[in-house]
């Protein structure tokens, strides 16, 4: 399936660049190492043959659209359901100029984790994915099989419930152990589509204050996090950061503010 989608992505990118509808295309291309594809901008239709889409394309392209839509011209971007949720959030927060984005929603059967070039099963975020639709998009390619990895609500919060069921001190220890592994590399923050502050409030803070960093970050994402799971995916130390965000998603109830 991804090969079919990939073919269509290449031809649509070529068409749109040729017709001048867009000035650049944001997609993925093969990396230097097998199964490590990287996000890439394509400006030339002859380069579009390099556009790659497979289950190893794990990076969410939405955040790159902040910079892309601040340039002159329009950008074509290929997004999966979870990516479009992130993009919709960014549009809502006035980070992306919708006029300057042409969004093609592409089918997704879930991404896989990779370890030394080898597949290691579905990503945690894909295993509990609840998104099949595209809240913001101009066109769709190959979306027939989207429902395959989608689970029910309770399954999504299983991890959270497991932690909730333990008592306070066990919960404290759980996070203490996990967060002590953090090296403050900021991968979670910088890959997060909704972490787009120009200067992070925790920039240059004491790197020893890891718990502080993660709690502040989670609260700042409250009501904005689209649960794309990128933070947990990129953590080099394997900290299950999605649990913090998902706990807040579980508890979060939007309040209607009367004018």
């Amino acid at each position: 399936m991804p090969q079919e989608i990939n073919k269509k992505m290449r031809s649509r990118a070529r068409e749109m660049l040729a017709s001048g509808e867009v000035t650049q295309v944001l997609a993925w291309e093969a990396g230097e190492f097998p199964n490590y594809p990287a996000p890439a901008f394509f400006k030339d239709e002859t380069a579009c043959g390099r556009i790659l889409y497979d289950r190893f394309c794990t990076a969410n392209l939405s955040k790159f659209m902040i910079e892309a839509t601040r340039q002159t011209g329009r950008t074509l971007v290929f997004l999966r359901p979870c990516d479009t949720y992130a993009l919709a959030q960014l549009i809502k927060e006035n980070q992306i100029n919708r006029e300057k984005a042409y969004i093609i929603g592409i089918g997704c059967e879930g991404n896989v984790a990779v370890n030394e070039g080898e597949e290691r099963g579905l990503l945690e975020s894909c295993r509990v994915c609840v998104k099949t639709d595209y809240p913001v998009c101009d066109e769709l390619i190959g979306t027939e099989n989207n429902s395959r990895t989608v689970v029910t609500g309770s399954e999504r919060f299983e991890g959270v419930t497991r932690v909730e069921e333990t008592d306070t001190s066990a919960r404290y220890d759980f996070w203490q152990v996990l967060l002590s592994r953090c090296i403050r590399c900021n991968a979670c923050r910088n890959i997060c589509p909704t972490c787009h502050c120009k200067v992070c409030i925790l920039e240059g803070e004491n790197p020893l204050e890891k718990q502080f960093f993660h709690i502040i970050r989670a609260y700042h994402q409250n009501g904005r996090c689209t649960d794309c799971g990128q933070c947990a995916r990129v953590c080099p130390q394997g900290i299950p950061l999605q649990l913090l965000n998902r706990k807040l998603i579980k508890e979060y109830k939007p309040v209607e503010v009367q004018p």
Partner: protein, 340 residues
């Protein structure tokens, strides 16, 4: 010629316990699991042999933190009678051993030595280096993201203070330096029970078996090619940076995991790892000389590929592949070197 000792694999727990009696021993041990990928890091020997992973080629974190910690207190400042009393932190003199360091990481430690123990010596770093005994382990195979061969590093001859290699149910042990000899002697009676191989021919049996990965895609080694670039300025002003930096998220994961990245910031008596990719790194009162991600991204790769070779004669990369394996967006130094 130094003696080679050999010990059967089932006696490894005894060996580790014996080393740990002499000094704290750190070796690759599995951590907890998330998404099915177990993080292996150099962890203090606890007697739990089942968690020891001697197959893993790269620990998540490089050994650099043992010499150059992520955060350390350099001095204490106490306000007394309106003046500050400054007391430097005592230097470490407690010996420790690292087991299972691979050839790439051992080469990286040499690169760090060139920076911290050079024209000006960093006392804190040097004290830890002097206290350390590095026991390396030869690689039996390469991982998908390994490219040490591009820097002429032989993964089968890892160097260090003691080199070890696993073969046919034995661990072979060969001291490489005086420090390594001293540790071997300290193990004394224990090592005497171990079989001594009279020649070191078997060391070299390994080196023929490994085919080094070549991610250059049939092109000439980009790192060697870069070294031939006549002037640094032409690299600096290359238009390639305009596109290259765009898909970098500037998180700094590569710098923290890199075994040779060594930039830091000193704040309030503490020295902390810092990264050239962060806007705060070069922030000064007047502003920032590297105002955007492009300049910061360029700095990281120029430092590794041009400035460091110019000053120290070696590319500040050993091909461990941690940046490849862990980059959130699969940006990496090979890509940059190829484009340039």
């Amino acid at each position: 010629m130094r003696l080679v000792y050999k010990i059967t694999n089932d006696r490894l727990p005894e060996l580790f316990a014996r080393i740990a009696e002499e000094m704290p021993l750190y070796l690759p041990m599995r951590g907890e699991i998330n998404d099915g990928i177990a993080g292996v890091n150099l962890t203090r020997w606890s007697g739990d042999f089942a968690s020891v992973d001697l197959q893993i080629l790269k620990t998540i974190l490089s050994p650099k933190g043992f010499f150059f910690p992520a955060s350390e207190e350099l001095y204490k400042a106490v306000l007394k009678d309106n003046t500050y009393e400054i007391t430097p932190q005592p230097l470490t003199d407690r010996p420790f051993a690292l087991f299972g360091v691979r050839a790439c990481d051992a080469a990286a430690i040499k690169i760090l030595d060139g920076v911290f123990i050079g024209e000006a010596t960093d006392e804190f770093y040097k004290a830890r280096r002097d206290a350390s005994c590095i026991i390396t382990l030869a690689c039996e195979s390469l991982a998908a993201t390994c490219f040490c061969g591009m820097f002429g590093i032989n993964p089968a001859e890892p160097g260090g203070d003691v080199s070890t290699w696993l073969k046919d149910n034995y661990l072979y042990w060969q001291p490489q330096t005086e420090k390594g000899e001293r540790l071997t002697k300290k193990l004394g009676v224990f090592m005497e029970t171990v079989e001594v191989v009279k020649t070191d021919v078997e060391v070299h049996l390994y080196s023929n078996e490994i085919n080094v990965n070549d991610p250059s895609g049939g092109m000439p080694n980009p790192f060697t090619t870069l070294k031939k670039v006549p002037d640094i300025l032409s690299l600096f002003i290359s238009p390639a940076w305009d596109e290259l930096h765009r898909t970098c998220v500037a998180c700094g994961t590569c710098t923290f995991l890199c075994p040779t990245c060594h930039c830091y910031d000193i704040a309030d008596c503490r020295r902390n790892w810092d990264a050239c990719l962060y806007p705060g790194f070069t922030q000064m009162a007047h502003g920032n000389p590297r105002p955007t991600k492009k300049e910061r991204f360029r700095q990281r790769y120029m430092h590794k590929l041009a400035y460091h070779p110019q000053r120290h004669g070696v590319v500040a990369c050993v091909g461990c592949g941690r940046c490849v394996a862990q980059c959130p967006v699969n940006m990496n130094i090979v890509k940059v070197a190829k484009v340039l």
